[in-house]
Amino acid sequence: MSTELGQLFDRAVSHLQSAHPHAQTAARRADLNVSALDLLLQMEAYGRELGWDEEEDRGATVMQTATADLRHHLVRATEHLSLATRLDPATGHGAPPGPLDHARTAVAAARDLLKTHRGPDAEVLTPYALLLARAPAQRYLAGRLADVAWELARLLGETSLAGAQPALSEELAGARRELQKAAVLGRAGALGAARETTALPAAARLNPLPPPTREPPCEALTGLHNDAEQLLRAAFQSGRQPGLPPPSGADWPHIARSLALARLLATRLIDHLDPTAGLTTDLQLAARRWHAAAQTWHHVVDLTDPGTHPPPPGAGTHGRRPGTGFPLPSPPAPHPARRIADNMALRAGRILYGPQWQPGDTSPTRPPRPAPELLSDTGGTIPVLHALYRISAAGRHLAAAAPALVARSAQDNLVTDSTAHRPPDLPPRLPLLPGPPRPDRRHLRPLPHRRRRRPHRVQHPGGPSRTAGNPRRPGGPGRRPPHAVRPHRPPPHPRPGEADHPAGKDPPADHHRLPGPQEALRRGNQAPRPAAGAAPDSSHPRPPASAAIGLDTCPVTVFGRRPHLPTRRPGRRPIPPGGPTRHMLRAGRPARRDAAPTRRSPAPALRKLSAPISSGNDGAVMAAEKAAPQAAYEVRLTVPQALQFDEALYRRFTAVHEAGHAVVALATGDASVSECVIAPTQAAGAGRADAYTDVRWRTAAARHTLLYGGLVAQQRWLHEQQLWSPLRESAVQILGKHDFEALKSTGATAEQLEQAHTAALAFRDRHWPAITAVSELLDHKGTITGAEVQALLRQDPAGARDPEPLTLTDQQRARAAAITAASRQRARRGPSHTPQSDHQPRQPSPAGLPSLFGPGWRPNFFR
């Protein structure tokens, strides 16, 4: 079992307590101060990494005030201690590490533990990372840092009284005072902390290894813990766009059957150890539901499976050369969750039947290990129940993620020979099955599936369209599987609850009525159909149809996402008072916390099971479930993810924003523009650009209007390029938050803001060719002066009212005229746009946006 977060903080506190004898020794005082400074720097790093910005968040909420105060006093204490170490520098080199060094190591290890839940780019790897971003978990961290600060303050207090020189004593006393304040304020802010965070483990690595042959039971229990954590992470990462690919159609039945096996063995293990535990009924039901989930894949084949063995592509021009050939399509490797589920079942079986057990080896000649021996090896019933709970908890997360994952993996790859997967509400003009017997060579048919309406889904520009076929399919884009049949008129589909086929008639030979995975997604909690020919078996309760996907989700909630605007806190980044001044209108650099809300499905069945045995690490899982009801598998989108623009397109998008500011500012007649700049930031990659427009204004109305200019320009540009979507609209609003904050800081009334918005829309539409021309020039050059903006605006018939003389050369003027003409031409060619169309958005091109700028678009830069 990996070390938990609370254990590391406890270790740090105990080391600090053991250092008090050293504080009385003057000879070791210098080394102790240096070690204390190192420890303080580690503690201060928490606040920096967790975003406890002492200036940003002060006063916003009680929690933010507390964390800001905590960090503030830690910084002050660091300054005092830094001075103290200069006054009394350490002389000993190579001295053995003392208790404070061990405490610093423990605090640093706790930081490392927190970091394991995020990737190198701070991407979320486990659901615990979402938990840590919430206030209760951060309150816990603040409380534990306050504990360490309190002990360190006591230690420094003793050191300051140990006969040091006055200046040194003063600095040490100052550090003690600051640490005491940090401790008191940090503990005050820790009220309402999620104490379960103390059981947070390090994130498990996704490299499942098979259990060793002779694994002792106690180690097998630890292995079960790790397996559960790995499965949790695999389920979580598979549901996120940049994470693991989802399990394929070959993986799902294997995973489901292995998890059923693990639960069945857990049932036997509990029965064997403590028949009175009373948990076996639920566990057995769980096993049956996972088994039912595996059975739904009987007639479904995933064409991307390793087992489908697609035929090699035919020889082409290159393959005809001697000694060359086409490599075979490389099949995807089995999903890690598959091996993890195997390991779970294997470990559970070996704990019960001994280290030689293998699945399928349950003959009566191999009895379970004697219960007393088993209890002796595992340390009692509680550790066993603890480990078995982890299996259920991880399975629950996988089950909750399964519908979305199946929908992702089943794009166009699944084929079936069963009629059971026909959507019940399929239009009659789209029949699926033949009336007469099918021809022999047409064995399988594509599995129909409907895409669920998911407003958060952003079609990637240039991505494969559905009509173009799936490029991952072995046959290549646009090619149907060779065994797929053309649809024919089907027999009437029975409604839910009806018999599988009319009474007295035998079903057709291929009429297997099994609830398929997609069907189970649709049916939700409808009762399953009885097996044809089998009488109802009252002794075996039949699981609901939702169990076809996963056992532990009843019901399974389909995830949705809606774009939203982040909460803007008043009073942040205020504009200094004093009338109109220079103001940098910034755009770009989207923050990671700009994200859509999240939701998660409940799973009451497992709560009932897990309640009696929740302890230890389980607290962290339960806290994640309880405190993060919006967390689990929903993807939090950053602005670049919402936009789905490549680097060049994002740069143009930013240029349009700045051009909107500049042109609208000049168009008001009461503002002037010095320059617009787009500069790449240090973080390379798409969606990373920093831009600003340097502008002066003379009236408040002009300021309000120009602040709206960037936003409205981006909105029209998205519509014109047929790139508009609700999510991108949300991204536009998020990217314009600096403008909104500036507007708010002006103290303008709602009526004034409405007038300014209307005026900005009017200026935008009147000078739209100029805006597009300025954006093209800015995109090309990176920097554009106010004079160039003015020149481009003068090309516009509406003209500018700025009296400044034109400073462009003739050549530049000619290029500007060409850009303006091209922009007008595009504006005339494209669909007409009116301000009202902001409220009646057009959807993106259904053809998958093969050309982001329309069929006739060509780059038209200054060259």
Partner: protein, 141 residues
């Protein structure tokens, strides 16, 4: 599971499995393994059946089928009646399949692994068919 009266499903399948047409034989092997998997899953929770063994049997059948190419001929075999006699017949077909695994494999399949899975499927299914006393409820005609 569909328990429609068997109209020569298993004998026809056995004939195709033993026939000279390699493509038909591969398709029949695919169907045999699919039938065995469905049958094992169907009887998993029946009285007298070791559920763990049934699940392991179904898993072995699916693993073995992954080594086979996707069938290009034939039609899905009807589900046989779930009774011990059918289980014994399927076990016998699995034995034939395991004995000549190389004949049915895809060109790029891992032969030894596939043979091991087929053998495990046969052994597990034989043990399963021996321990299964039969359905508690008679099949509907």
């Amino acid at each position: 599971m569909n328990t429609a009266p068997e109209t020569g499903g298993l004998p026809a399948l056995a004939g195709r499995l033993r026939g000279h047409d390699a493509e038909q034989a591969r398709a029949a092997a695919w169907e045999v393994l699919g039938l065995a998997e469905r049958l094992a899953d169907h009887v998993a929770w029946e009285t007298g059946v070791d559920t763990v063994q049934a699940l392991a049997t179904a898993s072995s059948c699916r693993e073995a089928r992954h080594a086979l190419p996707l069938p290009a001929v034939g039609a899905p075999a009807p589900d046989p009646a779930p009774d011990p006699a059918t289980a014994a017949e399927v076990a016998r077909l699995l034995g034939e399949l395991a004995a000549r695994t190389d004949r049915f494999l895809a060109p790029d399949a891992d032969g030894p692994t596939a043979a091991a899975h087929a053998t495990a499927a046969r052994q597990n299914f034989e043990a399963l068919s021996r321990s299964w006393p039969g359905p508690r409820h008679p099949a509907r005609p």
